[in-house]
């Protein structure tokens, strides 16, 4: 029954999406408001219908309806309820349906929140979002149906079909349960309950800015209207995607057992590309809002952000690339490729058409190199270069070489570690300079004056690091740039608050609250910069100063790395409730001869594959990461890999700051009485 309900709701959602698409197109072409209202109603209906459909699938997963092939392939009777929930996105069909649900949720929100203010753009917005939704729902219905069930044909063959085939009957459920596959062990991690939803919320969220952009292009209203409507949606999608990337890093760190969190894997890179494009857009859109410039560039960024989402979806879900994150080879590759190509070409074609009509012409020219808009544009150039470099390394070089050369080439971590650090360094430099520059014709002298305080504050931490023994030029340069960017953001916040304290006699907490209230976008942005700085500190530390060793030890023997000593004490095996065999080593970790932790690195042996779970001693200074990588039959000798990851926890803490900053920036502006006080000195300082 659940399968019928889920499939029925899915089918109705598809019909509603197509209806909304056609009605919106008609409303746009014939200027019919009644058709537009019909389009809105049909579009709004897709979310509750998909909620119903996915609820049916979730209930089937929780209740163990193993006749549904998706339930059979991602759970088994031993799967705990917690992981039955995460199994919803544990494989292609479920995650595709979940993707559509989130897409419809965004459409629902965008239509309700923007209906009155942006009514003229609504035909285009509804048409684009519903075309995208209808496409993904068609994939679910025709190629990756999560409600297909197993049937036994008269000749005994097991068939998989959404509807009962002629002459077939339902198989025995108990026997199906006994053969169920169970969830991929790699997905049995707490992070999996939140990492994919965050990532998908990020991916699907970019459809709204894209839809507004296309609606503006189609309608010819290329004033700042569409930009105003899309900025907050972009910020939301960008935040979720950033969180998804960070949580994915944490999952890889905990589960994949290689001691790192970012492997420059093509699927990771596919998710990074729209995030980079979104970051560039969030900066350059300010220039369009404040100066009426970069109108064509912003349009292209929005188009490329969503195009990158579609390409990433195609690359991940088609089986085109090999990755621990990718789905099995699937038939949806070609339709996804065709849809990606079509959407990108249509969007670029419309942009070119409007550009030729002069509707995307800038209102001003750039005044000088040291103006804030010029620095923002240079930042965009670096983001574009990063995009190209990462796309080339992940997809361009392998695919083009396969066509042009005898032997295809792949570019590994070496390539990315050579190409991206200089570009990130320039980004941090610009992140430090841009807030100090004024809009328009700012002078280098003013920039230099503004830099004095942050530079002075950057020097003491650098000196401390040098005294602590970190004397390599690349590390000092990297930490110098990152700290400078953070100091600039911090000083800007303090400067604004101090101005309020002096002008209004407010206490510091009052001044800070009022400051953030008054200009959430700007000061939320500074908190994001602080978050990125903290992430940068963690990334540099854990990349440049990671230390590692590996040895086989007998019980009682030790290995040392830097001033740490690891002693192998014991080995045991136990069977867990969910059927996995736990092989656990007990080790003692000491530092300078002082006992600091007893860790239990282990191997979880699932029927499908073993998983290496690290024992981690975590502190602000570093993580000591211990892997049990092998053992003999009796457990008398075991092999350990010991890794020291300096400052790695800064990566996760910076993520929290980034989240806080984005929420501040995205929160709707509500000017309190206190924060509305405006006088010229304050305005001048905060301009």
């Amino acid at each position: 029954m659940l399968a019928e309900i889920g499939l029925g709701a899915l089918l109705l959602a598809f019909v509603a999406a197509v209806t909304a698409l056609l009605a919106a197109l008609g409303a746009g072409l014939r200027k019919r408001d009644d058709w537009l209202r019909s389009a809105r109603n049909a579009a709004l209906l897709t979310f509750p219908l998909l909620l119903c459909s996915i609820s049916a699938l979730l209930l089937a997963l929780l209740d163990g309806h193993y006749q549904i092939s998706y339930v059979w392939s991602v759970t088994d009777p031993a799967t705990p309820s917690f992981y039955r929930f995460t199994a919803l996105w544990g494989s292609q069909q479920g995650s595709l349906l979940f993707w559509s649900l989130l897409l419809s949720l965004y459409c629902f929100g965008a239509i309700l929140l923007n209906w009155r203010e942006h009514r003229p753009l609504m035909p285009g917005v509804i048409a684009v979002t519903m075309a995208t939704l209808a496409f993904f729902l068609a994939l679910s219905l025709l190629l990756e149906n999560p409600f297909e069930r197993f049937w036994l044909a008269a000749d005994g063959a097991v068939l998989r079909s959404a509807f009962i085939p002629a002459g077939a009957r339902a198989p025995d459920i108990a026997r199906l349960a006994a053969t169920a596959s169970g969830l991929n062990p790699l997905l049995r991690h707490f992070g999996m309950i939140i990492h994919p939803p965050m990532l998908y919320l990020g991916f699907t969220g970019f459809v709204i800015p894209f839809a507004f952009a296309l609606a503006a292009l189609a309608s010819g209203d290329l004033s700042a209207t569409w930009i105003r409507a899309t900025r907050r949606w972009t910020l939301l999608a960008w935040m979720f995607l950033g969180l998804g990337l960070l949580l994915g890093g944490r999952w890889a760190y905990d589960v994949l057992g290689w001691g790192g969190y970012w492997g420059w894997d093509p699927v990771e890179n596919a998710a990074l590309l729209p995030w980079l494009t979104g970051t560039a857009f969030l900066h350059s859109v300010l220039i369009q809002e404040k100066r009426g410039m970069l109108r064509l560039w912003n349009m292209l960024l929005v188009i490329f952000a969503f195009s990158a989402v579609l390409f990433g979806t195609f690359a991940t879900r088609s089986g085109l690339i090999e990755s621990v994150h990718s789905f099995a080879r699937s038939d949806i590759g070609f339709p996804l490729f065709a849809f990606w190509s079509a959407m990108t070409l249509v969007a670029l074609g419309l942009t070119l058409w409007r550009q030729r009509q002069g509707l995307l012409r800038d209102e001003r020219a750039f005044a000088g190199l040291s103006g804030r808009e010029s620095l923002f544009v240079l930042n965009n150039v670096v983001f574009a270069a990063l995009f190209i470099a990462i796309f080339w390394g992940s997809f361009g070089a392998p695919l083009i070489s396969e066509v042009l050369l005898d032997a295809p080439i792949t570019l590994g971590v070496d390539y990315f570690m050579q190409v991206t650090p200089p570009l990130f360094a320039i980004l941090f430099l610009l992140m430090g300079l841009a807030p100090l520059a004024a809009w328009g014709n700012s002078s280098l002298r003013r920039l230099g004056m503004g830099l004095r305080a942050p530079l002075l504050l950057t020097l003491p931490p650098l000196a401390l690091l040098a005294l602590a023994g970190m004397r390599t030029a690349e590390a000092l340069l990297a930490y110098g740039l990152v700290t400078l960017a953070g100091m600039v953001a911090l000083i800007e916040i303090i400067r604004g608050a101090r101005a309020r304290v002096r002008a209004w006699g407010e206490t510091w907490p009052q001044a800070l609250v009022a400051l953030f209230n008054r200009n959430r976008g700007r000061y939320g942005g500074y908190v994001v910069h602080l978050g990125v700085t903290v992430i940068g500190i963690g990334v540099i530390g854990s990349t440049l100063f990671q230390a590692e060793t590996q040895r086989t030890l007998a019980r009682g023997e030790s290995l040392t790395l830097q001033n740490y000593e690891l002693r192998f004490d014991d080995f045991s095996e136990a069977l867990a409730n969910d059927g996995r065999l736990l092989q656990v080593a007990a080790v003692t970790l000491s530092r300078d001869g002082r006992h600091i932790a007893r860790l239990r690195p282990r191997i979880d042996v699932f029927p499908q594959q073993p998983m290496t779970i690290a024992g981690i001693h975590s502190s602000a200074e570093n993580d000591v990461y211990v892997l049990l990588t092998g053992h003999d039959e009796t457990g008398a000798r075991a092999t350990f890999r010991l890794t020291i990851n300096p400052l790695i926890n800064f990566v996760w803490w910076g993520g929290l700051l980034l989240l806080a900053g984005t929420l501040i920036a995205a929160w709707p502006q509500q000017l309190s009485v206190a924060s509305q006080r405006q006088d010229s000195p304050l305005q001048e300082l905060q301009a």
Partner: protein
């Protein structure tokens, strides 16, 4: 006369401002161009040094041009040949050639290990704990170099067992066919 002087001064000031604006725009364009050229150089040099040719065991064994070069090679692991020294942490095994293109990875791996006539490659992986996925008929993807002694020394070892997560249909006997 006064008016004419004023006009000349205004014209000169406009020209001066125009020249200044052009110079600033030029500075700005040069800065952007510099970043782009530097990025292009980074990408090209990174590609030149980081490129790894992905070849088959057949191509590696049969072509001396690959000897001594860092390449990626893929093949099927022969289970009985696997040895691991826990003290030196060195793995050694033999890998059989699989074709560059195939429809079914599991079948390609099975055919490769079953056919004694296909090319084979001796592999050594130093400083490596023994991975659990290193077993008979696993696909190994190695990055390393072929030495003059004909042994491939790998610096990176990736393993895949195709049967693990393939979506399947339950065995009819278990699914209830026995009741019929």
């Amino acid at each position: 006369m006064t008016e004419a002087t004023w006009e000349k001064t205004a014209l000169a000031a406009r020209r001066f401002r125009g020249r200044r604006r052009s110079a600033r725009r030029l500075h700005f364009l040069l800065a952007g161009l510099l970043i782009l050229v530097a990025s292009a150089w980074l990408i090209l040099s990174g590609t030149a040094s980081g490129a790894r040719y992905f070849i088959t065991v057949d191509e590696l064994v049969g072509n001396p041009q690959w000897s001594g070069k860092t390449v990626r090679v893929s093949g099927a692991v022969l289970g009985p040949s696997i040895s691991w020294d826990p003290d030196s942490l060195t793995i050694a095994f033999t890998m059989a050639a699989i074709p560059a293109q195939f429809d079914d990875l599991a079948a390609a791996l099975h055919d490769a290990v079953s056919d004694p006539s296909v090319s084979r490659l001796e592999v050594v992986v130093p400083d490596q704990a023994k991975p659990d996925l290193l077993q008979h008929e696993a696909q190994a993807i190695l990055t390393g170099r072929l030495g003059a002694d004909g042994v491939f020394t790998a610096s990176e070892l990736l393993l895949k067992c195709p049967s693990r997560f393939e979506e399947a249909v339950p065995d009819p006997a278990i699914a209830g066919h026995a009741d019929l």
